[in-house]
């Protein structure tokens, strides 16, 4: 491992992290490191959103109780059936759809609302910055679970309410990141140039600041996908997320918990799906982050 002091400027500079060699093999490996998780994510989206529409996938609900607890590999039921006779494979796909929809919506809300709030706070500065950030601090310090329970019990558990509940968690996180990035960008020359050429504050914010912080927010959102999918599972697991009989990975795991010692597959099948999905998003986020920091 060669140390190259000539490269060293400010400690912590991102370019210092890049590996010593950029041969064809390492380029191939970094290519695979990006495309394998990207392909997995694409496959998961296809299976959850498109395949139930075009493929031979049964209904996730309204199963026949006489067909309950069929083992894996039964005729017509690839992954068997659950305790009330629903096709496990169909429940897995529709449950994944709920998880992905919620995670996408929560992250989109985080990027748009949190990104705008954070950029606005940093851009306005002074007491307005302080007020916005203190209000967001309240939500960061407040246990997200209590809000989620309140929303689920007050408004009734549903997919949309789960999105609201989890957004209280994602918006402050995105806002903090957006604020830090905006503070950094605000000091750069092109912002000063925009100001000198007579660009107003709103236009500067929308045209010059936002495009420069969005890549950071997007990378964070990929890691956020994994976090939100796990959190949504936690809420559904506690009976506060997607309400049964509609499937979600969290409520499938929760339903399987009571029969864990007899038929562990009811816990393991949705758990594996959850794990593979989260790993794929995490790997993709990692690969993109290291690629962008190399540039």
């Amino acid at each position: 491992m060669a140390v190259t002091p000539s490269d060293v400027t400010v400690p912590g500079a991102l370019e210092a992290v890049t590996g010593p060699s950029v041969g064809p093999r390492s380029r191939l490996r970094s290519g695979l490191g990006l495309w394998i998780p990207a392909g997995l994510v694409a496959l998961i989206f296809f299976l959850c959103f498109v395949w139930p529409l075009i493929g031979p996938v049964g209904s996730p609900t309204g199963g026949n109780i006489l067909e309950a607890n069929l083992p894996i590999g039964s005729a017509g039921h690839v992954l068997g059936t659950d305790q009330v006779g629903n096709d496990e494979w169909a429940r897995l796909l529709y449950g994944g759809r709920a998880s992905l929809e919620i995670a996408l919506a929560v992250n989109a809300l985080g990027i748009v609302v949190g990104g705008l709030l954070g950029a606005l706070a940093a851009y306005l500065g002074d007491w307005r910055d302080a007020v916005i950030m203190r209000v967001l601090d309240v939500f960061i310090a407040f246990p997200a679970l209590v809000l989620a329970i309140a929303i689920a019990e007050g408004l009734g558990p549903s997919e949309v309410h789960t999105i609201w509940a989890l957004s209280f968690f994602s918006v402050p996180a995105f806002a903090r990141l957006a604020r830090a990035e905006t503070l950094r960008i605000r000091e750069l020359n092109f912002i000063a140039a925009a100001g000198l050429s007579g660009t107003g504050p709103v236009r500067t914010l929308v045209r010059h600041v936002m495009p420069n912080i969005v890549p950071q927010l997007m990378t964070f959102a990929l890691l956020g996908m994994g976090i939100i999918i796990v959190l949504e599972g936690a809420l559904s697991f506690l009976g506060l997320g997607v309400p049964p009989p509609a499937p979600s990975w969290g409520n499938m795991i929760s339903a399987g918990e009571s029969v864990l010692s007899v038929t562990p597959r009811f816990v393991f099948i949705p758990s594996i799906a959850l794990f593979v999905t989260v790993v794929s998003f995490n790997l993709l986020g990692d690969a993109l982050r290291s690629r962008w920091s190399q540039r």
Binding site: M1, V3, P5, D7, V8, V10, P11, G12, A13, A16, V17, G19, A130, R134, V135, D137, V138, I140, A141, F142, P143, A144, L145, V146, L147, I149, A150, E153, G154, G226, V230, G233, A234, F237, L238, I253, E257, L260, S261, P264, V267, F268, S271, L274, F275, V278, V279, N282, L283, D286
Partner: protein, 345 residues
């Protein structure tokens, strides 16, 4: 820590005047400012909790008496518990109590909230401490061995392991551990908590599965972070070059110089992450039936027991705010450049 700061050229006069300038020290003023800024945040948290609890359908009187109670009975109990008073009055009374050091009494059991918290907090605290120790004991050696040869066989295995551990949901891990160690092998209890006074060994056994469920994702996170920081320091810092030039071996550089610097970064992240950890303990305590503060919180919410919820939420919020403050302080202690806000070009 003297190796990181204290420039040799610092004027002695500045040191002599240190005691008298302590009141005006930037660090102290920073702490004061942050503590003052935390007060409105904590105030907001208590108000939000009251609003949330107030907006839930049903109240403590209804929950305590059950569905069969007549409206007259419910009303009578409401008056007795003070629930018929207006929202603002109830919040004001609670806030007044808080300022004078009283957290109120549980609506469900009549116990004082302070005594409920005092019996729950040790369980949660022991669980978190156990999980912390487990994760650090594994994460630090793992990161050091990985950073010794980045891209080597150990590094690759530990990266795959840590990515997997990072992606596993704590409740999934908890169920997996119950299935393996309680159902299949039968070596550890799946549920329940043994107080330490009934034997420390039994107590630790009853907390092992919950602690591992929390520790595994945590240790993977720490190991990845520490590894990245170690490698970055090894590749980019001047003091590493100096140490090598003086003839320090690779292990000496890693353990005596780099690890010291990277440890600060790790501690900062540990502090920042503390709030998320508390959230995880709620669901883990629920799965394993541990009588901790997370379990208390869930019960209190379903009982509409506002004073207990307020007490528990306040504990959570204070811990989050304090750990953020500690993280900021550590961050500036780690790198004196941060304190002055300058960015050397």
């Amino acid at each position: 820590m003297s190796s990181t700061s204290a420039p040799l050229s610092a004027p002695l006069a500045a040191r002599a005047g240190r005691a008298s300038r302590l009141a005006g020290s930037p660090t102290l003023r920073f702490i004061l400012r942050r503590v003052l800024a935390a007060i409105p945040v904590l105030f907001g948290v208590t108000l939000l909790t009251f609003v949330v609890m107030n907006s839930l359908p049903g109240d403590a009187a209804q929950e305590l008496l059950g569905a069969s109670a007549t409206p007259a009975e419910v009303h009578e109990l409401s008056v007795k518990l003070g629930l018929d008073k207006p929202f603002v009055t109830r919040y004001w009374d609670w806030l007044h109590g808080l300022v004078t050091g009283h957290l109120g009494h549980s609506l469900a059991s009549g116990q004082s909230v302070a005594s409920i918290l005092a019996s729950d907090l040790p369980v949660t605290f022991e669980l978190i401490l156990y999980a912390f120790l487990l994760s650090l004991v594994i994460a630090v050696p793992m990161a050091i061995l990985s950073a010794r040869r980045p891209g080597g066989i150990f590094d690759r295995i530990s990266m795959v392991f840590s990515m997997s551990g990072l992606s596993i949901a704590p409740y999934v891990l908890a169920l997996l551990l119950i299935w393996v160690f309680a159902v299949k092998l039968g070596v550890l209890p799946a549920i329940g908590w043994v107080p330490p006074d009934q034997g420390l060994g039994q107590n630790i056994r009853s907390l092992t599965l919950p602690a591992v469920s929390i520790a595994l994702p945590l240790l993977c996170f720490y190991a990845r972070l520490l590894r990245a920081d170690l490698i970055e320091q090894l590749q980019s810092e001047d003091y590493v070059v100096t140490a090598r030039a003086k003839g320090a071996g690779p292990w000496a550089v890693l353990l005596r110089h780099t690890l010291r610097n990277s440890a600060f970064g790790l501690i900062t992240v540990i502090a920042l992450n503390f709030g998320t950890l508390l959230g995880t303990t709620v669901i883990i305590e629920d799965i394993f039936g541990l009588p901790g503060i997370g379990h208390e919180l869930l019960t209190a919410i379903s009982n509409r027991d506002t004073p207990v919820v307020e007490g528990a939420v306040l504990v959570f919020a204070v811990v989050v705010v304090m750990s953020n403050l500690v993280a900021d302080l550590l961050y500036s202690a780690l790198d004196p450049r941060v304190r002055y806000g300058s960015n050397p070009k």
